[in-house]
Amino acid sequence: MAQIAKNILLVDDNPLYLKLLSQAFTKEGFACQTVLSAGEAINKLTSYTPDAILSDYEMPDMNGMEFRKQLLQLPAYQDIPFIFLTGNKDTQLMTAGLGLQAVDYVLKDTPVNVIVAKLNSLLNTVQKQRELSQQEIRRAAAALNIRVVPDKIPAMNGLQVDFWHKDYQDIPGGDFIDFIETDDRYAFILLGDIMGKRWKAWFFIFTFLSYIRAAIRFSILSGEHSTAVILQKVNYIVCHDDMLRDVLSSLSLLRVDRVTGQLFYAGAGDMPLLHYHAQSGELKQVNSSGLLLGMFADGSYDEQEIKLNSNDRLFIFTDGLTDYAAEEGKKSDYDSFALRLQQLLTYNPSFESLKQELVPKIETLVDDCTIIQIHKI
């Protein structure tokens, strides 16, 4: 797997020292950004998240200590490992700095290669701790039998369903897939994305999924099959649940009638699906009108039938596939994704080879990625 360069932000009012440090770190494979003051650093952080910050202590306007204090007040930045660079051997000062959760102190006359080694060791420790916490949570989730991606896909007459899911940086995020067989006749396929990332989104998934599963089963029991009605029910509950206040989720919900082979769809703030018409070679957007779950009590959901002909394919996916990191910054580009998909489909690829082509490279990935393909055989 490609090694991703660690980003570090270097803050020092001495441009020469900054250049020296930056060259040494770059040589060691780090990606550096440099700024000449703490004020500039704070501005920079609004659009850039480094893996670590190395800051001079003595700077005009705002010194390193003040800078650290400001960062500690901002939840988004307070956990970024921070190292003070100082020419001062004052132990009182060092103690004060460590009280501000500066992870380390380095004297400026330390040889640069030692500073690099120190930073490497610090980042390794942080990474190890993070992995241990993740393992703990994964174990807890496994014990509770909580899964956001199913093990198996129910058999459906004439339809081949494949899916692929990748967590962003291997930390579970907001995407969830489920296949639900309610009886011999109906099966539901759903793909959702809780807005927000990482563990926080992941925790909300279970509440959402429980509501969705319950709404589907209760609806079928009472003779109601419409995906739009099911979405409306889920949305109503989510909007009235205080625990889920301000939590929003997209959802694509499909119902397969295994007797007639019909496919019905309703969407909630989801990316429009893409339907590949094998005969004409066209890839068409399947739009729905529904709003994100949790937005307003009336989500304007509607159901439509999607008619797949032989060899047609339907793609349901989350924004992790349309968003990517480019040199000029991150981008969302649904149209380019659709165009690429259409070009690839002209070769009639298997899902496996399509996946290899479509999936963003690890360096350009910015979010969880999930795609489901329904192929009419």
Partner: protein, 107 residues
């Protein structure tokens, strides 16, 4: 992160971010909601500087809109970059937000 450019019938607010994401979403939401509470005026949010928005930040803008609606106020979006405008339309947020090219169109 956000700056009040002008205060008249609306609060005209610039968002000074190139990448609006999970790291700044919560802070943004807190600031906009406290502006709504203090000023009790609808907000026109200028996103012209923003090149990329992730779903966490979109969630924060929606949370601000919901808060505004509960006060019978509004959050209006202006200056959306084409990619972002397209994304907003794709997920139907254009049905809930009023969207204009710039401040002058709002007034």
């Amino acid at each position: 992160m956000i700056y009040i450019v002008k205060e008249d019938k609306y609060l005209q607010v610039d968002v000074n971010l190139t990448e609006a994401n999970l790291n700044n979403a919560n802070e943004f939401k807190t600031q906009i909601i406290s502006l709504l509470d203090q000023k009790k005026k609808s907000i026109v949010l200028n996103l012209a500087q923003v090149q990329y928005i992730d779903s966490s930040f979109l969630g924060a803008i929606v949370a601000a809109l919901k808060h505004a609606i509960s006060m019978q106020l509004d959050v209006i979006l202006v200056g959306l970059q084409p990619d972002i405008h397209n994304l907003v339309k794709l997920i139907r947020l254009d049905k809930v937000f009023k969207i204009y090219n710039d401040y002058s169109e709002v007034l």
